[in-house]
């Protein structure tokens, strides 16, 4: 207890601490910040995802584990168990290392091509270990593809061909060595396809030169030598899309995208045939796209809202096969035998999906036809991959790996969903939390309530465990009881505030509510407003906010969240609003705004129905007030003179502050629109500074006290302002990667700016420092992380801001009598007198993101949460980042808990809150205060999700989870019994004495 790091060392705090000492004496509970092995999974959960699948390769030929290798938009390459959907292994590539293609080579390596065709890697199929990596010299990043040659000779090394632009690389699949490399043309050649005619040593490459020339190359497989080449130009040009239909026939789209051109080539002769689509489709108009599907002798084109399957009979002969209307998905062709290929067509019919598998021999009939019911919250089908297996009656059966609109992945076999993965959760955009409903009398949502006997039995078991009397079986039983404790998964609010709903918004536009107990999805909704529609072609999700949190007035109503999106990627694209019930996931309201969304400001105001007021600022700097009702307007007008906003313009290297003014007539629609009036601007000199990062305090952060008690009972007053902005700028020369600039060129400026008045409160320069900068602001301090070029190490700095104008308030009697103005409202236009303390330390890790713990009342000391490059979350006590640290602290400073200064921050292995787990692709950490003051809930997300709760000053306000109530009970009973027994004995003795 002596090392407890409770902050305020005042009389009160000591009294409080005294209480704990006594409490501890009674219960002798073991307190520890680190976890024991058997505590893993009690309060935390970790879910693994992979993201939206882009490519899938099945590996089912051999006996043994059947698997599917997938690559995803989150740059994950993973091997999934085909029976269960579990991840066998998974590798997450870097953030910018996008996977272009994935394939299996030699039957034992997974080959991935990534980073625009410049990196080829081979992974061991059974366990995902990397076998080799090869970097290809690609001059210009272009659309690259991978072609793994089919087994030429079994047992021999096969070549992997990578082509993109005009070059082809051939690599050995054994060790990744480049066998040969061929630059086919100096012109702007775009190789479209590489293929190998059956049983030959020659590979063919076809492509377009410029926009009107078609080229065919025949290349030796062994040496890369060009055996034959031919070119021909086509007067109306090509648009660049082409599909290889036969070994000697390519069908391409012409430049106008309105007609097809079939290109046949044989022995250096290239013939073009233009095919008019109106012959095939009577009512054709508009533009055509070729679907990039690999069929033999078939072609799929997309016209307006439907897809046509065409069969190519000859160079100028196409046959219309089938028309499929949206929404649909077509798979690549799957060879069933030497002559036969199959492909699948999936079609949506409201909540049903029809599966059809056809063979290219017989297009009129289906090999297989199935229909399944699909959850409407999964949206439409986006992609399908098929795989076949041989049934016992020697016929073919098919499995379908389906990617849905919400990025979920399903395996369907025999008309049933075998498994599904909610992989949209790998791409969370934003999150918020919601309280669960209050438990009402009689309406218990709890599934199983323990009866008294069960309860006692469980506790007796625990007692046995504590006293080390339990057998191994019983120990296992204890662990099982702890892990599946129904208490933590209830759907009602708990006393400690540990049970909540985390509401997440994914990139697919799906909103999901996760229970903090075990991370299960309570409800999910694919927002109709964020789905592709005619009014909004390319919607995407931006943010989620708390919209209505009923407290007093609207207690019977459910809380709701506001989801904000945007139609299209431009800043001036119209915004999308959707309000979703937090308990049920029902969409209450959704609309497409008339204006764009560039800033969203939740205001500290609510209307009479407890709906939070939001200001949406559009690209034209107009502020729009929501919700649009007269009540909210009334509340807003009261506060309007005190509401300001600012905009950080990175391109212009500028920060501008505005106030609001209303020019509209009352009772018009314009009433809710306010104009911006520019108040101030800070322009950073663009030749020496470039904005690297900005950080602000969380608006909902609660600070307990304005005073900091320092050694010898002295007081320092913190400068606590919600309107403080931290800006870090770096020298433009040193804005690139680490090492791209010399220490002399690198400069990092840190600013503290008051966003109401635009006043720069503090500015500090770090010489020889460069980005990437990460910063976190809390209470009266900023911590930022950057790279020090001189020391060749990462560094972390802390700035603490104190208010000197309050420093005179030190007269005890005035304070006792309340004769001070310390709690009077302050205006930021009063001239602040700020004192700053700062210090820097070395830090070993590079950082992905930073956050700070938050507790309900702000009493508990803070911990920094650092997302390390290894995708773990490290909790670092703020005490280590205290600018008052010195090499030799005085006795009173030591008592205060000041740690002697060291040049680097310690990394204690036990303080990784993710313990042995990794949150792959870690992007953000969210801290949510629990009701219990000591505890904060942490939700970190990236590709994976991880949730836990931590107590930065230990759980000083509650007993530990494994506290033995049975032991306490038994002790009390024993004591009471002892009292009675001794009383009876003494009575007896006394009587005896009297008879003497």
């Amino acid at each position: 207890m002596g090392s407890s790091n409770l902050r305020p060392r005042t009389a009160m705090a000591i009294w409080a601490r005294l209480g704990f000492v006594i409490l501890l004496l009674f219960f002798s509970a073991t307190l520890s910040t680190a976890l024991y092995e058997d505590q893993v999974g009690l309060a935390d959960w970790h879910h693994k995802y992979i993201g939206k699948v882009k490519h899938a390769v099945f590996h089912t030929q051999k006996t043994g584990r059947k698997r599917v290798v997938v690559s995803t938009e989150e740059n994950v390459v993973a091997s999934l168990d085909l029976r269960t959907g579990f991840i066998f292994w998974r590798n997450v590539l870097g953030k910018n290392d996008h996977i272009d293609q994935v394939d299996i080579a030699l039957g034992k390596y997974v080959v991935t091509l990534s980073s625009g065709g410049s990196i080829l890697r081979a992974w061991n199929l059974p366990d995902g270990q990397m076998i080799w990596e090869s970097t290809l010299p690609v001059s210009t990043p272009s659309k690259s593809s991978l072609y793994v040659l089919a087994n030429m000779n079994v047992g021999k090394d096969n070549l992997i061909l990578v082509f993109g632009g005009s070059s082809i690389h051939a690599l050995s699949s054994m060790d990744g060595q480049i066998v040969w490399r061929k630059e086919l043309s100096i012109d702007s050649l775009e190789i479209q396809q590489i293929f190998q005619p059956h049983d030959s040593d020659i590979i063919n490459a076809v492509g377009f030169v410029g926009s009107s020339e078609f080229a065919v190359y025949q290349i030796s497989y062994r040496t890369g030598e060009v055996m034959q080449q031919s070119k021909a130009s086509f007067e109306s040009g090509f648009c660049g899309e082409a599909s290889l239909v036969f070994d000697n026939l390519v069908v391409a789209l012409d430049a106008s995208k309105s007609s097809l051109v079939s290109i046949s080539f044989k022995n250096e002769v290239i013939n073009f045939h233009q095919i008019n689509l109106s012959d095939l489709v009577p009512d054709f108009s508009g533009k055509v796209t070729l679907l990039p599907l690999k069929f033999n002798g078939m072609l799929a084109i997309e016209i307006a809202s439907s897809v046509l399957l065409l069969r190519v009979k000859g160079p100028n002969e196409l046959e219309f096969v089938e028309k499929i209307s949206h929404p649909f998905a077509v798979s690549d062709a799957l060879p069933l035998s030497k002559e036969q290929q199959a492909f699948a067509i999936l079609q949506h019919d409201e909540s049903k999906i029809h599966f059809k598998v056809k063979s290219d021999n017989d297009l009129r009939n289906e090999i297989l036809q199935e229909t399944i019911q699909m959850d409407s919250q999964r949206g439409n089908i986006e992609k399908v991959f098929i795989n076949n297996y041989i049934r016992t009656d020697r016929t073919h059966g098919f499995r379908f790996l389906v990617v849905m609109e919400d990025h979920s992945l399903l395996l369907i076999q025999q008309g049933e969903i075998v498994w599904s993965r909610e992989d949209g959760l790998a791409s969370i955009v934003d999150s918020t939390t919601s309280e669960l409903p209050v438990e009402k009398e009689g309406v218990s949502v709890a599934e199983v309530e323990h009866n008294l006997f069960e309860w006692l039995k469980g506790h007796l078991l625990k007692l046995k465990g504590t006293l080390m009397l339990a057998s191994p079986d019983e120990v296992a039983a204890i662990q099982a009881i702890r892990l599946k404790s129904s208490e933590k998964n209830k759907m009602t609010r708990d006393h400690n505030g540990f049970r909540k709903l985390i509401i997440v918004l994914t990139r697919a536009g799906k909103v999901l509510a996760l229970h903090t107990g075990d991370g299960r999805v309570v409800w999910s909704v694919l927002l109709p407003a964020l789905r592709r529609s005619e009014t909004c072609g390319n919607p995407f999700a931006l943010r989620v906010y708390q919209w209505q949190v009923p407290h007093h007035h609207a207690m019977h109503e459910n809380p709701s969240v506001l989801v904000v999106g945007r139609c299209g990627h431009g800043f001036d694209a119209p915004g999308i609003f959707s309000i979703v019930d937090s308990y049920t996931g029902k969409v209450q309201n959704s609309l497409i705004l008339e204006h764009s969304v560039s800033h969203i400001m939740p205001l500290p105001l609510t209307d009479s129905t407890e709906q939070r007021l939001h200001l949406i600022i559009d690209a034209k700097l107009q502020a729009h007030l929501y919700p649009k009702n007269s009540d909210s307007l009334k509340h807003f007008f009261n506060e309007m003179p005190n509401i300001y906003w600012y905009s950080v313009e990175i391109e212009k290297n500028k920060i501008r502050g505005y106030s609001l003014e209303s020019k509209a007539e009352p009772d018009t629609a314009e009433e809710y629109v306010f104009q911006a009036k520019e108040l101030w601007s800070i322009v950073f000199p663009s030749e020496s500074e470039k904005i690297a990062v900005t950080a602000t305090r969380k608006k909902n952060e609660i600070v307990h006290t304005q005073a900091k008690v320092v050694a010898d009972q002295d007081v320092m007053y913190k400068y606590i302002s919600k309107n403080i902005l931290f800006v870090a700028t770096v020298a433009p020369k040193a804005a690139g990667e680490i090492g791209s600039a010399t220490p002399e060129d690198a400069l990092l400026y840190a600013y503290l700016i008051d966003t109401v008045s635009g006043r720069i409160l503090h500015r500090v320069c770090h010489q020889g420092a460069q980005g990437p900068v990460h910063a976190v602001v809390s209470e009266n301090w900023v911590v930022y992380h950057y790279f020090n070029l001189r020391a060749h190490r990462y560094e972390m700095s802390v700035i603490e801001i104190y208010d000197q104008s309050r420093a005179d308030n030190k007269d005890v009697w005035k304070l006792v009598l309340g004769k001070h103005n310390l709690t009077a409202p302050v205006s930021l236009y009063s001239r602040p007198d700020v004192m700053v303390k700062s210090q820097s330390y070395f830090f070993t890790h590079s950082v992905k993101s930073m956050a700070v713990t938050a507790t309900a009342k702000g009493i508990t000391s803070k911990q920094l949460l650092i997302g390390t490059i290894g995708d773990q979350v490290l909790a670092l006590d703020k005490r280590f980042l205290d600018p008052r640290r010195s090499v030799n602290p005085t006795q009173s400073e030591k008592e205060e808990g000041i740690i002697p200064l060291s040049d680097s921050l310690p990394i204690v292995p036990q303080s990784y809150i993710t313990h042995s787990l990794q949150v792959e692709g870690l992007r953000s950490m969210v801290t949510i205060p629990a009701k219990l003051e000591s505890t904060t809930l942490i939700f970190s997300y990236g590709v994976d999700l991880f949730f836990t709760r931590i107590a930065p000053s230990r759980t000083y306000d509650s007993l530990t989870e494994d506290f033995s109530y049975a032991l306490l009970l038994i002790t009390i009973v024993a004591l009471v019994a002892a009292i009675f027994v001794t009383w009876a004995l003494s009575e007896k003795k006394e009587l005896k004495e009297k008879w003497r």
Binding site: L18, L603, I617, N642, T705, N809
Partner: protein
């Protein structure tokens, strides 16, 4: 059981109204000329002397009692010095007993001097000394409490729970959302 006790007379009944032990003064008249009330001057002298001795003894005893807290004070001081100035169970225990003892002593100040109460003995002075010494002990306890930092005598004790001052202005915004 002891032998002697076993032989001891357990009970006895006295049938005569007056036991042989009871004094006969009430029933048997005094001899003529004997005046019980008029005491023997010699005897009276002796009794006065005895009384004086008793009151002197009482006064002395009262002073002794009054000075007793002084020893306590010294012992407390030593214990406090031993306990040190950090907050832990031992120092807290010492401090609390240092506070509690004088308070309980002061509460029972009348009772303490009850046996020495006499018309001739002046117990006010020892009482005052007793009170003063106990107050000194109390002061010592309070001082100890203060050295432990448990008394709100600093500004920090009064401002540490003051919430931050509310701000008039509200500002939002930041980087444009993309």
């Amino acid at each position: 059981m002891e032998k002697g006790k076993g032989l001891a007379r357990r009970w006895a009944v006295e049938f005569a109204e007056n036991s042989s032990y009871a004094s006969s003064t009430s029933d048997v008249p005094d001899p003529i000329g004997f005046n019980r009330s008029a005491s023997d001057p010699d005897d009276a002298n002796a009794s006065r002397q005895k009384k004086d001795a008793e009151s002197a003894w009482k006064a002395q005893k009262a002073w002794e009692v009054a000075q007793a807290p002084f020893k306590n004070l010294l012992m407390m001081g030593f214990m406090m010095w031993m306990a040190g100035s950090t907050v832990h169970l031992f120092s807290i225990g010492i401090t609390f007993s240092a506070l509690w003892q004088p308070i309980s002593a002061l509460q029972g100040v009348g009772k303490v001097f009850e046996p020495y109460k006499d018309s001739k003995v002046d117990i006010l002075a020892p009482k005052l000394l007793f009170i003063a010494l106990n107050l000194a002990a109390l002061a010592l306890g309070v001082w100890k409490l203060n050295t432990l930092g448990l008394l709100p005598t600093h500004a920090s004790d009064w401002v540490s729970s003051l919430p931050p001052a509310p701000e008039v202005e509200y500002s939002g915004g930041g980087l444009p959302i993309h």
